[in-house]
């Protein structure tokens, strides 16, 4: 009985879309870790509060920049979820 089988290999656009989903999955984990980095700083070292502030806002801005960049690849159509 011939059943419609799922394609193992996708065309270029579909492949790109899936990798963008991977980015969407990994990004929160990554920034969650990056947000905790200042905890490791030596409090009496060279890096002060203002540096921590600048660091956190930079990571924050980059994260939402990436998120905005991949947003257009991530349509929520039902056809190829999962």
């Amino acid at each position: 009985m011939a059943r419609p089988t799922k394609n193992t290999f996708l065309e270029r656009a579909g492949y790109r879309r899936r990798r963008m989903r991977d980015v969407a999955r990994v990004l929160p984990v990554l920034i969650g870790i990056l947000f905790c980095i200042p905890l490791l700083w030596d409090r009496n070292g060279e890096l002060g509060t203002a540096d921590a502030l600048i660091y956190l806002f930079t990571v924050w801005l980059c994260a939402l920049g990436i998120s905005a960049g991949i947003a257009r690849f991530l349509t929520t159509d039902r056809s190829d979820d999962r």
Binding site: P28, L39, A50, A63
Partner: protein, 895 residues
Amino acid sequence: MVSFNLLLAVALAYVAFLFVIAFAAERSAEKGSGAWLRSPWIYTLSLSIYCTAWTFYGAVGYAARSGLEYLTIYLGPTVVMIGWWWVLRKLVRIGRSQRITSIADLVSSRFGKSTALGVMVTLMMVVAATPYLALQLQSVTLSFAVFADAAGDSWLSEDLTRSALWVALGLAVFTIIFGTRNLDANERHHGIVMAIAVEAVVKLCALVAVGVFVVWGVAGGFGPMIDLIDTSDIAQWQQSSGRWVGLTFLSGAAFLTLPRMFQVLVVENANEKNLITASWAFPLYLLTMSLFVVPIAVVGLKILPEGSNPDLFVLTIPLSQGLDGLAIFSFLGGFSSATSMVIVATIALATMISNHIVTPLWLSSKGPGAVVSGDIRQLVIGARRLSIAGVLLLGYIYFRLSGGGEALAAIGLISFAGVVQVLPAMIGGIFWRGATRWGAVAGITVGFVIWAWSLFLPSFGPDGILPQTVIDHGPFGIAALRPQALFGITEIDPLIHALMWSMLLNSVAFFFGSVLTFPQPLERLQGAQFVNIFEHSEGARAWTTSTAEAEDLLIMAQRILGSNEAQVLFQQEAQRQGKAGYLPEVTPEFVQNLERELAGSVGAATAHAMVGQFIQGASVSVEDLIAVADEAAQIMEYSNRLEQKSAEQERTARQLRDANEKLTQLSIQKDAFLSQISHELRTPMTSIRSFSEILREGGMSDEELSKYSGIIHDEAMRLTRLLDDLLDLSVLENGQVTLNMGQGNLKTVIDRAVSATAHSPTAITVKRRDGEETIPLYTDLDRLTQVFINLIANAGKYCDAKRPVLRIEPRKVAGEWVVDFIDNGAGITKENQQVIFEKFSRLSDHRKAGGAGLGLAICREIMTRLGGTITYLPGQGGAAFRVVLPPAVNPVLTR
């Protein structure tokens, strides 16, 4: 100095402006021109109710007290929004397809539409939200007090409470007007969403304005600001890692479970795609909101007198610098933050209370099985309005009791820790099919009790509700149960202590409660639908048979949805079923859809209970689940069979196509033959006639006489032969032939055939395999000889090779003796192979054929009569025929 009355006038004008905006949005939505109200930007701005007065005023105070820790309150939601693909996407899809009305509805619906769970979650949310609402009232009144102070009019506590009462009343009126316009929670509250969006912009601009003023107006630019930060007290900030990670988790989790956030994120979501935009736009909003918090705190600590309340720096800095306009703007920002949060939180809580407490109570007061009467719409809307007023009243009472003055941020975090107790049940419910109702009940109960014991009750202060002795030594002196040192573990920050123990034990209770109990059928159905929402958004059936009358259902639906909506719904279904009028067949699918529609108004549990009144005892059972599975298997089998059948039909169609092709060709051949045979008959007749005329005229020599009569004789012979062939074939076909069966040998038959054709003008060289020809035969030897003669003669006539050679090869194939006749000519083309055995078929019309194309047809008939076959054998390099000899057994003898 700005006078207090001016401030009041500005505040009232702002409120009036919000009313106008809300009305305009409602009007525009009614006219159908409100598409922009569903845009992702409005959605993103509506999420900003996360930033309450707590974040507007409190964040600065928080930063002044604990350095950068305030950022965790924004980082958590940022991680959740950027990770929308994991959780939010699923939540929104579930919320839309199941018509979820609140977070209590989500939990109740997932765990078998359980009323008890809905009540539990509702109560918990109300308890956790009350301090938070009080906090908003407090912040507004405090900000009023600041201006009153500045105008030289010191406020007493009565003034504070009076203004709080007025604020609460105003908010109640606004929320009731715009929040209960429609019953269906899935229909957006356009007026409110619009007002919130405007307020979101106002509070963002206000905070940024104050920030810009502080950095460039007071500190003197970016560089000096950095130096100022590093030299201020805040730079002495010592961050505990536990609090940093714990608070980030807490705020992220609360972002998902706060009733008001669930309301704007999931319930009022107009389009799933809006979430994609919000996934980066909302973190951007948060970033902007928190950007100037530290500068404001640092500057406030520096320029304001010792002992000023840092929670109010946003107001007091501009006031102290004489910037009344900025101060008023900033006040409006704080006012916006407080009111927008209160409005949405009240709506969310009121929906929960009316759907999960009031309506079920009212239904059960009617007694089991009694059919509802009266207009439920009015009841539910009335309940919702009362709930709004009640929730605000609770907040006001809490404000009165607590007396204000606590650090704002602390109350907010306690509230957060309360609402996240739903998280394990919620996340477990949408990702794990094994989660059960009892697991959820156990987890939420355990979490809530620990939260209340270790965080909420102690928050009322020493001897507030818990006596100091209990806090210090535990109840009845049991040290292991000390609220802030459970199990004897001391030295942890109280908040992290409560968060850790409550979440840990909550999850453990949820997990083991789920693993050890068995879910009811409805729970399993709902669980499968929630967890696999992306595979089937269409629901499985929760009702099997229905004994309900369509009319009863219509009457009930009208009471909840309103008569027009209900009639349209029923009419559409009737049309879909191909019926006229308003009453469709009551199919399980229809009941399911109806229940879901009702759930959008009164919640899943109530809708289920109400539909259940009409369909007594027909709810789904384990047997039904199995039946559904069987049905699915049957459908698969059926489709398999269909596929088989279609393959069979394809084969038949192919055969028919072949047959048709053959028929068409034959018809053409027959037409050609008819003209051929008339020609064949006419040619000898013409010569016979003309020569007999010559003979009749007489006067010719004997030689001529004999020549002409010879021609007439030959032509007559040709005619006879043609007619003989036709006759022969007709006799064979009709089965009238008598066979002369006899013993013989293949060799003699071939000998006779070869010698009979040897003297013909078209004779062909025959190659034989003498040694293999001695095969005994029992058949009609004359007829078989006739077949062989025909084949040899045909080869002689049609073989187009320069030196025509015919090989006659007897051999044994699959237990039968066959004789192959293979010549070295061009062979017969594929399309002709199909027709050569048909009557009248002749591949070429050269005269040397001398026959009428009946030879092979006769051969085939003979072989069929003899019990053998003759077929064309393709792929032998020339024309090849295979004669399968009849079995050499005398059937009479063996019988």
